[in-house]
């Protein structure tokens, strides 16, 4: 919509606001009415919002008088009065930022919140979220830009050399997201000659390239572009951890579905600065407590569970990670 022309341009010089004012005011009114009308149309015509609804999310009891002086990360966060938590911003169901409100939702975000509550921080007021892309996670933890990271972060040997891990809090697996009308592509065995999309440099992509050389690998920066390509028949499947795929499927169930058995195992951990074992141990303890109290399952049901898949058993926390 075009903005009303400023009075200085429309009004002839000398007559001032007495001539230009009402005309401009009138135009502004028309513009405002039109804007309101289109906004109303958008509200009534848009489909009901899918994904986690803020009012259905569980609340977590904040631990009172919690103290962890042996953890430098906790100490400096306590001094600042808030935690800085790294999350993903483009993964529906796990960690997604609402571009309109700036709020983060998803299972990973819920885990981040319950961990904050267990560390004595108010999850609604004392968390600052930072969206960190996969490739920058280690750097962000090493540089102290974030206190811990919860964002589909698979625990593996290479990363263990760079950062510390608490958890795992969830076991994901690589699967395939296809169009709902797809008949042939049911699992990794059917991928020969088909275009399979994933994120540039990601482990799922490397696995396709190494183990399924007959599949045509396509790589973009984000899964959102892959899904767009899938819907436009540019690629035949999107592959990565099923958590992420289920999030996309839950957003658009008429057009997308997740197929096949998982062909990898991805234990998700909470990334912490490598030297801060005390923080990792505290998070481990908090995870066990939250799983026992039912918070873990409530968080799952309010986020990933919306895709229709019932909550699995939470994985056992691995004490070897914090030794």
């Amino acid at each position: 919509m075009r903005t009303p022309t400023p009075p200085s341009r429309t009004a002839p010089s000398g007559t001032g606001s007495s001539a230009g004012g009402p005309r401009v005011l009138g135009r502004g009114l028309v513009a405002a009415v039109l804007l309101a009308a289109t906004a109303a149309c958008g509200a009534s015509g848009s489909p009901p919002a899918r994904g986690p609804q803020p009012e259905q999310l569980p609340h977590y009891d904040v631990a009172e008088d919690f103290s962890l002086p042996s953890s430098p990360t906790w100490k400096s966060a306590h001094r600042r009065g808030e935690l800085t938590v790294g999350v993903k911003e483009d993964q529906p169901g796990m960690g997604e930022k609402n571009p309109a409100t700036g709020e983060y939702t998803g299972f990973d975000v819920e885990i981040a919140k319950m961990m904050a509550a267990s560390l004595g921080f108010d999850p609604d007021k004392q968390i600052e979220y930072k969206a960190i892309a996969s490739a920058n996670r280690e750097t962000a933890l090493q540089n102290g830009q974030i206190d811990y990271y919860v964002g589909t972060y698979t625990i593996n040997e290479g990363r263990k050399k760079l950062v510390g891990f608490a958890g795992p809090y969830y076991i994901a697996g690589q699967r395939l997201l296809v169009r709902r009308d797809e008949k042939q592509l049911k699992g990794p065995q059917d991928m020969a000659g088909r275009k399979i999309c994933s994120a540039v440099g990601s482990t799922p992509l490397q696995r396709i390239q190494a183990d399924h050389p007959r599949a045509v690998a396509v790589a973009y920066d984000s899964y959102a572009i892959c899904v767009d390509n899938l819907l436009n028949h540019q690629v035949d499947a999107v592959t990565t951890d099923d958590t992420i795929l289920l999030g996309y499927a839950a957003k658009d169930p008429e057009r997308l579905k997740v197929v096949g058995k998982a062909f990898s195992e991805e234990p998700y951990g909470i990334g912490v600065p490598r030297q801060d074992r005390a923080l990792a141990r505290a998070l481990d303890k908090a995870l066990v407590a939250r799983e026992r109290s039912g918070d873990w399952k409530r968080a799952y049901d309010a986020t990933l569970g919306l895709s229709g898949r019932p909550a699995p058993e939470p994985p056992r926390v691995d004490p070897a990670l914090t030794r």
């Binding site: 996969s134 490739a135 920058n136 280690e138 750097t139 593996n156 040997e157 290479g158 990363r159 050399k161 760079l162 994120a199 540039v200 440099g201 990601s202 482990t203 490397q206 396509v218 790589a219 973009y220 920066d221 572009i225 767009d228 390509n229 436009n232 540019q234």
Partner: protein, 214 residues
């Protein structure tokens, strides 16, 4: 150092991808750029309009947007090409607008008398431009075209986000595999330096051989 030796083939593939992108896009950019420069000085109004529009649109559009338009827009109209071709088209067309302007400014350095003399001999516009004006213009635009092609080599990094194998995106694989980001970047920078210094050297040699001595 380990990062380089343990991932030599990955770096090699990426480097080779960047070299190919640069070479093909440069050829396209030079061909289209010179053609458009010809259009912009042509006596036919329609051609001038085409040339001006080409430069105005492409020079003022972010390159990333061009990539998105090519890779996400064209398939919606049924145009499905290999990703490498899309990338060469986007990079080549974008850079051609800069080449065009460099060549056009070169054409303006050629004294008017040269063109008038050619015409008085009965040469057509094409002959005047091809045999008299452009060879002289070329000598004064070697340096700016070199700079433009160096920029092209570095701009090719954007293609890595659009399913094209090139040097910069190797860092994503390396970081995923647990290598230090800093050292991955150091070797990537070395790769780009090899390429851009080679271009500089080539254009320096050309300038010494053909450049205008003033």
């Amino acid at each position: 150092m380990d990062v380089l030796t343990e991932n030599f083939s990955l770096y090699g593939e990426g480097f080779w991808g960047t070299v190919k992108l640069t070479v093909y896009s440069s050829l396209l950019a030079l061909a289209v750029g010179v053609l458009m420069a010809g259009f912009r000085v042509a006596p036919v109004r329609a051609l001038r309009v085409v040339g001006t529009t080409w430069v105005t649109v492409l020079r003022n559009t972010p390159l990333t947007l061009l990539f998105f338009a090519m890779l996400l827009g064209l398939p919606r109209f049924g145009v499905a090409l290999p990703f490498e071709l899309f990338a060469v088209l986007a990079l080549g067309c974008y850079t051609s607008s800069f080449i065009c302007e460099a060549v056009r400014s070169g054409i303006n350095t050629v004294p008017v008398g040269q063109g008038e003399a050619a015409r008085s001999l009965g040469m057509t516009f094409g002959q005047t431009l091809g045999a008299v004006v452009l060879p002289q213009a070329f000598r004064s635009v070697i340096a700016p075209i070199g700079s433009t092609l160096i920029a092209l080599a570095k701009n090719s990094a954007i293609a890595g986000s659009f399913s094209v194998v090139e040097l910069l995106s190797t860092y994503k694989t390396l970081s995923e595999n647990g290598y230090s980001v800093v050292w991955s970047f150091v070797w990537i920078a070395v790769g780009y330096l090899i390429l851009t210094l080679a271009i500089s050297a080539l254009f320096h040699a050309m300038e010494r051989r053909w450049g205008v001595a003033r």
